[in-house]
């Protein structure tokens, strides 16, 4: 492949990177914060919550929700950029 990548290749690259980054956070937060290092984190007390316990019972769920919000927003942006790209490349008619 020569020159700048096609709109499709660019789109899938961005899409794939986003999936990998979000999945990494999905894996790290509950497992490391809520399971693997929970005993260490429990020594930190925030208000009435030991931190590790809070991550396991509340924090992880909040993080999951933020990940899905970021995903839906970013993908909307990527979709728009993809259609603009394709229009610029003449692969798609302007609306």
């Amino acid at each position: 492949m020569t020159g700048s990548p096609s709109p499709r290749v660019r789109y899938w690259r961005k899409h794939g990177t986003l999936i990998i980054v979000l999945l990494a956070i999905w894996f790290l937060v509950p497992n490391f914060g809520g399971i693997f290092y929970v005993q260490e984190l429990n020594k930190i007390q925030i208000g009435g919550f030991p931190l590790g316990f809070w991550i396991a019972q509340q924090g992880s769920i909040i993080v999951f929700l933020i990940l899905l919000l970021i995903y839906a927003l970013m993908m909307g942006k990527f979709d728009r950029e993809y259609h603009q790209d394709r229009q610029a490349a003449g692969e798609e008619a302007a609306p």
């Binding site: 999936i19 919550f49 030991p50 809070w54 396991a56 992880s60 769920i61 929700l65 899905l68 259609h83």
Partner: protein, 568 residues
């Protein structure tokens, strides 16, 4: 009105509402029947998914399980919400882009094989039936304990209601009743939680009350979780917030269980099909966000309810005179769900870890259901909780029955046995299959296989080890072949099913668990085995036909022409 009258009123009003929606949303096409005409707006689809997903186990049992397990209960919270991240990132938008009606549809078409389709049909039906049994028991529990109606009659009434909207409206009827059921169940869950939070800690937000100080009693001014830890230590239990160690699950086991529940959630056909009902791919992504938001409202409240219930239980009952117990105690004692045995004959309730000396046994399923009575809330709230428990169980049952009936009428009959069927004939087949499935489900409720949570754990392990890997590989790796997928599904489900049956039903001892992984978590290993087998077999078998590879490639890109911006 006394609380019994309130319960009847609430149950009758909500059931009337569901039937009304069923009549309003009846359909005349297979697309309407299977995927609600693909016209469900993302916010409503999110609510419907929430109700579809949150079952009798979430509503009735989960807070009780966390209450008993303490920190270890987090695996359910993480597992049953984290699955939505997998669904949203790896499955839902791509499957929606594929544009078919059912999960076996995807497996059969993607893997260009009717045998793969058949394996998927069998898995979908098996997983859904194990799960529906749990829901029917939930319906029976609510009816018998709140209304004094026998479990059998309760199950039959519940099934008649589901029958009505599932056969008339198919997925469309189910979708809009699920939206109503979500509203009922979330109010039923939140109102008692808020009331108890105010009573114990003065904080009206249960998620914060859970980390606040108690306002009354001997431990006023001390943080609630600190009080629980102290009480647990006194009674010989592991501290409520402590992880691992004696009396708790090990680190690897927790990790495996949470992972199996996540992959299982993402692989459950009744959850996946909800994402086929949106108009666009972007709608499927937003549906996943809304679904998790609506689910999180309950899931963030559950651990608070669990901790409140635990404090309430220990503080009210331990060391109190049996002759002076509150009214709700006696009421639940009659159902056999609370038991008191005065071993030392002093008339005091001695509650402790030591099973030889402990005098009090409390069934975990009653924590949520008894909550309003423990907190002395008015009768209409008790009625709402009964209606909420029924909404949770019936909404999930309906989604499962949809999977079963579409697997039979669409995947088995239309796609395999009688492709020449007309749409009208297929619709008749779909409705008949729904009727048969409803009757079988009712029988499963009346003659249960095991208790609610255990049976549900089975469904997750099997979903994680059969569907999840072959769908993910089918989407992301063009080279995945039909031989790979079939071998992967069979080994995954064979391994996981074998392990669960051996340790749950054939008396295998916990000491012999592999690496200390309990049957609930073995789906993680089954999933890895499925991934490995599918990959290896795919590499040594001929590549899929070019048109399949092209179709898989096409899943990655947005629809043409641009219409995605109108989705939300």
């Amino acid at each position: 009105m006394n609380s019994q009258a309130w319960i009847f009123t609430m149950v009758i009003i909500t059931f009337g509402l569901y039937i009304g929606i069923a009549i309003w949303s009846r359909v005349a096409s297979t697309k309407g029947f299977y995927v609600a005409g693909q016209g469900v707006p993302p916010v409503l689809n999110g609510m419907a998914t929430g109700a579809d997903w949150m079952s009798a186990a979430s509503f009735i049992s989960m807070a009780g399980m966390i209450s008993v397990l303490g920190y270890t209960g987090s695996m359910y919270l993480i597992g049953w919400t984290g699955g939505y991240v997998l669904l949203a990132l790896l499955l839902a938008p791509f499957l929606r882009k594929f544009g078919k009606f059912t999960v076996p549809d995807f497996v059969g078409d993607r893997y260009y094989s009717n045998f793969a389709r058949l394996v998927a049909i069998v898995c979908a039906i098996f997983v859904s039936f194990t799960y529906v049994g749990g829901q029917m028991q939930g319906v029976g529990i609510v009816f018998s304990r709140f209304l004094g109606i026998s479990v059998e009659l309760g199950v039959i009434i519940g099934m008649i209601i589901v029958f009505f909207y599932a056969t008339l409206g198919g997925m469309k009827g189910i979708t809009y009743t699920q939206v109503a059921q979500y509203v009922v169940l979330i109010i039923a869950y939140l109102v008692p939680a808020i009331a108890i939070s105010i009573k114990l800690t003065g904080n009206p937000i249960p998620q914060l009350g859970f980390g606040s100080q108690l306002t009354e009693g001997p431990s006023a001014g001390v943080y609630l979780l600190q009080v629980l830890n102290d009480l647990h230590r006194e009674l010989g239990f592991p501290e409520y917030t402590s992880a691992f160690g004696p009396g708790n699950k090990g680190m690897l086991d927790m990790f495996c269980i949470a992972l199996a529940l996540m992959a299982g959630t993402a692989g459950l056909p009744h959850v996946i099909i909800r994402f086929f009902t949106t108009r666009t791919v972007a709608g499927a992504r937003w549906s996943a966000f809304w679904a998790l938001l609506f689910i999180a409202i309950l899931y963030l409240t559950a651990p608070s309810v669990a901790a409140f219930a635990r404090v309430n239980l220990i503080q009210t009952l331990n060391q109190s005179q049996y002759s002076e117990v509150p009214e709700w105690f006696t009421k639940w004692e009659e159902t056999g769900l609370i038991e008191f045995k005065d071993r030392d004959g002093d008339g005091l309730i001695d509650y402790m870890k030591d099973t030889e000396a402990n005098e009090l046994t409390v069934n975990r399923d009653i924590m949520v259901l008894a909550n309003p009575e423990i907190a002395n809330l008015p009768g209409w709230i008790v009625g709402f909780v009964a209606a909420g428990g029924l909404a949770a169980a019936l909404s999930t049952a309906a989604g499962l029955l949809m999977v079963i009936s579409s697997a039979i009428s669409h995947d088995l009959m239309k796609r395999m046995l009688r492709p020449e069927m007309t749409e009208a004939q297929e619709l008749v087949a779909a409705r008949s299959a729904a009727v048969v499935a409803v009757i079988l489900a009712a029988l499963l409720g009346i003659y249960p296989l095991g208790f609610v949570a255990q049976v549900v754990a089975f469904a997750f392990g099997l979903a994680a080890s059969s569907f999840f890997p072959v769908i993910v590989l089918g989407i992301f790796w063009k080279r995945t072949t039909k031989q790979g997928a079939i071998a992967g599904m069979l080994t995954g489900i064979g391994f996981t099913g074998g392990y669960i049956i051996y340790f749950k039903f054939l008396g295998g001892l916990p000491e012999h668990h592999w690496f200390g992984i309990s049957p609930e978590g073995i789906g993680s290993l089954g999933m890895l085995i499925n991934f490995a087998v599918t990959t290896l077999v795919s590499l040594v078998t001929p590549a899929p036909p070019q048109e399949i590879q092209d179709a898989v490639e096409e899943l990655r890109y947005p629809e043409d022409p641009p219409s995605a911006s109108a989705a939300h």
